[in-house]
Symmetry: C2
Subunit: 128 residues, 2 copies
């Protein structure tokens, strides 16, 4: 029975947009996409698995970086076409730039200012 | 000078996904889209204006319902293709169902359970 998966209003490409929010800080960490398999795996493993639209493959968040997202809760919106995950972000770093959140540019006057610190240098995250 | 608008990685359709988060409760309220004009108007008026993909027109949030979103902060993510708004949600209701947040279905076992109360009946929000 995967009725809960059928109830989602997938896009024509079979995807659904996903917002990940940190369960502790309350910060919105990132935005990504899932297909049906990614969501099933996320549910099964308790760890966020996304669909990379650029690489056209499953993206097990944290597989390379160790920045795994433990999923505490999965929510669906009123139109059943957007997901919201509440996650425990391992090491507190969601962004590939080494920041807590991907939303680190803030519009100040007419400029996108970087307002969040790098917690770990990308060179230290992604070892060759 | 609208360089800040040019720096956004708009989709092929000229849109950008937008997450609205309540500045007080920290809750993720809704997910929608903006085009360039919607974002410019949001900035100018200090109130969220979205692009309705279904109705193919600007959607001044709260124009009918009164549930205006006063924008406190606009953020952009690492890839510059997703926006995050921090908003003051007037009347505390973002959802057309009369709930605080649109993300009111929670996955419990294999069911999407409604876990947020209706604060105002839609019939009371949208007067004929």
């Amino acid at each position: 029975m995967e009725n809960w998966l059928d109830q989602i209003a997938w896009t024509a490409e079979g995807l659904v947009p996903v917002i990940a929010q940190d369960a502790s800080s309350g910060k919105v960490l990132m935005f990504a996409w899932m297909n049906r398999e990614a969501l099933r795996l996320t549910r099964e493993t308790g760890k966020a698995v996304y669909w990379s639209r650029s690489r056209k493959k499953l993206w097990r968040k944290g597989q390379e970086s160790g920045h795994v997202q433990k999923v505490k809760e999965i929510r669906l919106d009123c139109d059943k076409d957007v997901l919201l995950l509440s996650v425990e972000q391992q090491h507190g770093i969601a962004c590939h730039t080494g920041r807590h959140s991907c939303f680190f540019h803030r519009l100040v006057d007419d400029n996108w200012q970087v307002v969040e610190p790098v917690l770990k240098e990308p060179g230290q995250i992604y070892q060759p």
